[in-house]
């Protein structure tokens, strides 16, 4: 598949800028997203290729402007919704509830 993820040989992406003494995770949400993705993989509703495909289907512009664990998050949500384990409405409602609680 040739898409936004197929980056070999692409020009103009700038320097690599490796971070010295980089931590394994940079933000708490990255830890949770990583673990949720692995744990949901164990449910057996999809395989590794389907997980990759869910990330690779992102719009190329959005793919390039989001971070690695955001790709995981978008892929996970896509698979959860497509397999019917969670609906878009449930996610939107829960995000609203958590956002409101955090504001209290």
């Amino acid at each position: 598949m040739n898409g936004g993820h197929d980056l070999g040989g692409m020009h103009g992406l700038g320097p690599i800028n490796p971070e010295p003494n980089e931590p394994v995770f940079h933000e708490e949400w990255e830890r949770r997203c990583f673990a949720l993705t692995l744990a949901c993989g164990f449910l057996g509703e999809w395989n590794l290729d389907m997980s990759r495909r869910a990330r690779e289907r992102m719009h190329p512009a959005r793919y390039l402007e989001t971070s690695y664990y955001e790709h995981w998050l978008i892929g996970l949500q896509t698979l959860l919704v497509e397999t019917g384990l969670i609906t878009e409405e449930e996610i939107a409602r829960r995000m609203g509830e958590i956002g409101a609680e955090e504001t209290d």
Partner: protein, 206 residues
């Protein structure tokens, strides 16, 4: 800025992760304790020190090195390094003539059992784009300059096959034991974007 204000602006990404976790736990699909365990494993237990032990063993023991190159997965299992994202391994030996460097142009495939989770730069668009096009330029960004006589081979990982570079044993390490040798082996030297430290460099770090 008050706490109220900051919380009112929790980024969408953070909220979304919290919402998914909350829903998945509520539905009994994931166990929060299992999530903590997975995080602990990959943050604290699995990492490049595993790969360094493998390299040090190969440097010290010719029979182990032969097994590692011929049947990598079994040789890694001898040291207990098996599991997810490392099922089918290939070990690439650097020599005076050939330097190997590993990338995953499509995503982030990486040998988790021996190196842990990949660093951000390995997953970044610039590395994935340029490793296959301008390896010497990439190496320069990592502070590595190789003679033009040395051939550079780039290996593009896939979901099925993961690579570990076996760097050359540095000079001046005769008589060092495995543990001391392992301290010379950097993560990047096992990806091919770096070289092992010399005993001299280690002495300077201390």
């Amino acid at each position: 800025m008050s706490d109220h204000h900051e919380h009112a602006h929790l980024p969408d990404t953070v909220l979304r992760v919290k919402a998914l976790e909350s829903l998945l736990v509520e539905k009994g699909l994931v166990d929060p304790a299992a999530l903590d365990e997975l995080i602990d494993t990959y943050e604290h237990k699995v990492g490049p020190r595993n790969g360094a032990r493998v390299v040090a063993r190969a440097w010290s023991n010719a029979d182990y090195k032969t097994r590692l190159l011929q049947n990598p997965s079994a040789a890694l299992a001898e040291l207990g390094f098996t599991g997810r994202q490392g099922e089918d391994m290939v070990v690439l030996e650097n020599t005076e003539k050939v330097h190997h460097m590993v990338v995953c142009t499509l995503c982030s495939c990486y040998p988790w059992p021996v190196l842990g989770l990949p660093p951000v730069w390995y997953k970044s668009a610039p590395y994935r784009a340029r490793a296959v096009m301008d390896p010497r330029g990439v190496l320069k960004e990592f502070g590595v300059s190789l003679s033009d006589e040395i051939e550079i081979r780039i290996w593009d990982s896939t979901a099925e096959v993961r690579y570990l570079v076996l760097p050359m044993r540095p000079e001046g390490t005769e008589g060092m034991d495995e543990e001391s040798l392992a301290n010379l082996v950097t993560r990047n030297s096992m990806i091919g974007t770096g070289l092992p430290l010399s005993p001299h460099q280690i002495a300077h770090q201390k």
